[in-house]
């Protein structure tokens, strides 16, 4: 079933055909996965999405951390259920990316050929995308500290998403009850939009007996209603947990879908529905972050009418590509590449907490820099001061090697955090890393990389492996 839309005149048809024509041209020139078709369409017809046929069921996913992984889960599950799915997982999560994906779901006469669209939507783009795209469901992972350049601060992002939500009142919001920021989406704390009428569903996780570190730069430092510092009774990580404001009584939302138990060894997750039914589901990886993604997806699919058994079946079919880390062994050491997301204090701190708690004696090689010589890509260093480098001041973090353009800024930050000078090496030239790696007294080396530095991390690890005179490949 598709949403019928009025015709957009000659501009729309020209835009659609030009965009359609550009797809094979891009394939021939090996430029797959770009947003060019959507950009072309928008240029020729700025209201392109207003006239484009779309499937009745559209699922949108947004949030600071985890939205790409969650979008991939949802797409794979729907495809495994036999549905025709369009998605922007291979392209951009901005307006043009959504336009490209949705355009691919129609024929040249604007007849919808897909059953469902799954769109990852950048937080700042929700207000543009939702002007014409009305998702049936909007799933939100969380809102946390992110790149200052792109996202400023959490309240700004909260208000922008709320502006998007105000354009689509029939959308059901699937919200993380344990995230004190995003769980209040649809509510007005002075950001300019009145309480949204949207139906809301909340997911979350019961305590698992863990003790999370308290963040130095919290994502939810004060109650948005009265400005009082909140009290947390449970923290899963950072400010994800359960809070109550001692000033006005504002507290965490009750959960409709709650993960009662995480069995990370068996990779199983027990979830209680809002009706009180308890079911067991496959867990897609052993991290708490992906447990949240999984319970969000379960809530979404339950709301879409799927049975618990079918959801478990579909989750079980997902082959997750583990992009968070790769592992090789050489010289008796575990050599990891590990994603840490630079410029994002909340994501970096979560990784630092993991590394601090993971008991192996380790050396960290940090490659979180952006590119030298490009003024626009070299961001600020404020995120270094929003990240909890203090977590790394532990005996099991034996040594840290920093390399790249910002090496001196890292050196100062780590020294201010209390990291000992004699266990810290800062180099401008990343290529010099292998000759400085020391293996004495360690079990593992972690090459921490950003989205853009994964290849660099793998190359450097390969050189370190050579230095350690080879070893067997383990897993990826």
């Amino acid at each position: 079933m598709e949403k019928k839309k009025p015709g957009g005149g000659i501009r729309f048809w020209l835009a659609l055909w030009a965009a359609k024509l550009s797809v094979p041209v891009l394939k021939l020139t090996r430029h797959n996965g770009t947003n060019f078709p959507g950009s072309v369409a928008m240029k020729l017809c700025p209201d392109f999405l207003k006239y484009l046929a779309m499937p009745e069921r559209i699922v949108a996913v947004t949030g600071t951390n985890g939205k790409t992984t969650a979008t991939n889960f949802i797409c794979d599950m729907l495809k495994n259920d036999g549905l025709r799915v369009v998605s922007n997982t291979a392209g951009s999560n901005m307006y043009a990316g959504a336009a490209t994906a949705l355009m691919e779901g129609v024929g040249i006469f604007n007849r919808c050929r897909s059953d469902v669209a799954v769109l990852e939507v950048d937080e700042r783009s929700t207000r543009f995308v939702f002007a014409h795209v009305k998702p049936k469901y909007l799933a939100v992972t969380n809102i946390a500290r992110d790149s200052i350049k792109r996202n400023a601060h959490q309240e700004y992002i909260f208000d922008l998403i709320n502006r998007g939500i105000s354009l689509t009142p029939d959308t059901t919001l699937i919200l993380n009850a344990d995230d004190p920021v995003s769980s209040f989406l649809g509510e007005d704390f002075g950001g300019g939009d009145a309480h949204a009428p949207n139906r809301r569903v909340y997911y979350g996780m019961a305590g698992q007996g863990q003790e999370a570190f308290v963040p130095g730069s919290p994502d939810f430092p004060v109650c948005p209603r009265c400005g009082t510092k909140p009290e947390f009774t449970l923290r899963h990580y950072r400010d994800i947990g359960t809070f109550r404001c001692p000033g006005c009584g504002l507290s965490s939302k009750p959960r409709d879908y709650v993960a009662l138990k995480l069995n990370t060894a068996a990779r199983r997750l027990t979830v209680e529905d809002k009706g009180g039914e308890v079911s067991d589901y496959p867990m897609l990886s052993d991290t708490v972050f992906n447990a949240y993604n999984t319970v969000m997806v379960i809530a979404l699919f339950r709301e879409m009418g799927y049975s618990r058994e079918r959801i478990a079946e579909l989750l079980g079919k997902i082959k997750i590509t583990e992009t968070r880390f790769t592992l090789e062994r050489a010289g008796g050491l575990d050599l990891y590449t590990y994603a840490a997301k630079g410029q994002n204090g909340s994501a970096a701190s979560a990784v630092f907490e993991y590394l601090a708690k993971e008991p192996s004696k380790k050396e960290l090689v940090m490659l979180l820099d952006e590119h030298y010589g490009d003024d626009q890509r070299i961001e600020t260093v404020t995120w270094l001061y929003e990240s909890d480098f203090e977590y790394l001041v532990r005996d099991n973090i034996v040594r840290i090697i920093i390399a790249g353009h910002r090496y001196l800024d890292y050196a100062l930050r780590l020294r201010l955090a209390g990291f000992p000078e004699d266990r810290l090496l800062c180099l401008e030239d990343e290529n010099a890393i292998p000759e400085h790696v020391e293996t004495e007294g360690i079990d593992a080396i972690y090459f921490l990389h950003d989205v853009y530095t994964v290849d660099k991390a793998r190359r450097l690890r390969a050189r370190v492996m050579e230095k350690l005179s080879g070893g067997g490949k383990n897993e990826g």
């Binding site: 200052i148 350049k149 400023a152 601060h153 959490q154 309240e155 700004y156 208000d159 704390f189 002075g190 950001g191 730069s217 919290p218 430092p221 004060v222 948005p224 009265c226 400005g227 009082t228 510092k229 204090g345 003024d375 626009q376 600020t380 260093v381 404020t382 995120w383 270094l384 001061y385 929003e386 001196l408 800024d409 050196a411 100062l412 930050r413 020294r415 201010l416």
Partner: protein
């Protein structure tokens, strides 16, 4: 000597809280102090410096609510030479008002400048400037802009923009009050200015981790002075 980190839960964006920590660490026997139950430390004890940082727009309202009862005391402290460092949009609290569309948020009214908030007009830049022969580096990201700061500017802009897009001057300086839209770890990034501030506080020692701080500062200076260097973010 005591450095008050004012309302870190409200004014703790972008790592600005590290300025107070850095300053206190540079003073022999320096101590950080904070508000209790929402009442600033300067109300209950003598403090030598008050440091506050960037905050969200809603938190500006909460901070003003908390500070308004102590407006005269704040004025007296400023007149009496207490060191103030207000980074990011926190300097706006000390002006007359923050205009938001047709309405205005009344501020402490200690200084004459006025601010205008435009959430759909965010501007960011890397920054290079001069203060009393020292070069100041950093970056800014503003949803709001101050007007009327030309009377007592803190920093002369040589790269980037000032208190508002048209201004060649950045921030506000009155006696030992230093207000600037520069945000984040302003003091760790600017060891010469930190040394200056420490001397105002009567300390002539090095800044914390001076070797590392100076090396990063000098590297950044070279970067910002590179011919053809862009300052404004796209």
């Amino acid at each position: 000597m005591k450095v008050e980190l004012l309302f870190p839960e409200l004014c703790g964006l972008y790592g600005d809280t590290h300025n107070a920590k850095y300053l206190a660490a540079g003073i022999p026997g320096g101590e950080l102090t904070e508000a209790r139950d929402g009442v600033p430390a300067f109300v209950r004890e003598k403090v030598d410096a008050i440091v506050l940082g960037s905050m969200t727009e809603r938190n500006q309202g909460f901070a003003l609510e908390r500070l308004m009862p102590y407006r005269e005391q704040l004025r007296d402290l400023i007149e009496g030479g207490t060191v103030f460092l207000a980074t990011g949009n926190s300097m706006e609290l000390f002006g007359q008002e923050i205009r938001v569309g047709e309405s205005a948020l009344p501020c402490l009214g200690i200084f004459d400048y006025r601010s205008v908030r435009r959430m759909d007009d965010r501007r960011s830049c890397f920054f290079l400037g001069q203060f009393e022969g020292m070069e100041i580096v950093g970056n800014k990201g503003q949803f709001s802009y101050s007007y009327g700061t030309e009377a007592r500017p803190f920093i002369r802009v040589t790269g980037g923009f000032g208190s508002n897009p048209e201004s060649a001057n950045e921030g506000w300086r009155y006696k030992n009050f230093f207000g600037t839209y520069l945000l984040g770890p302003f003091l760790p990034l600017n060891p010469p200015f930190t040394r200056y501030l420490l001397s105002v506080l009567g300390s002539d020692g090095p800044v914390p981790f001076e070797k590392e701080s100076l090396a990063a500062y000098e590297y950044r200076l070279r970067e910002l002075k590179r011919p053809g260097r862009k300052f404004l973010f796209e």
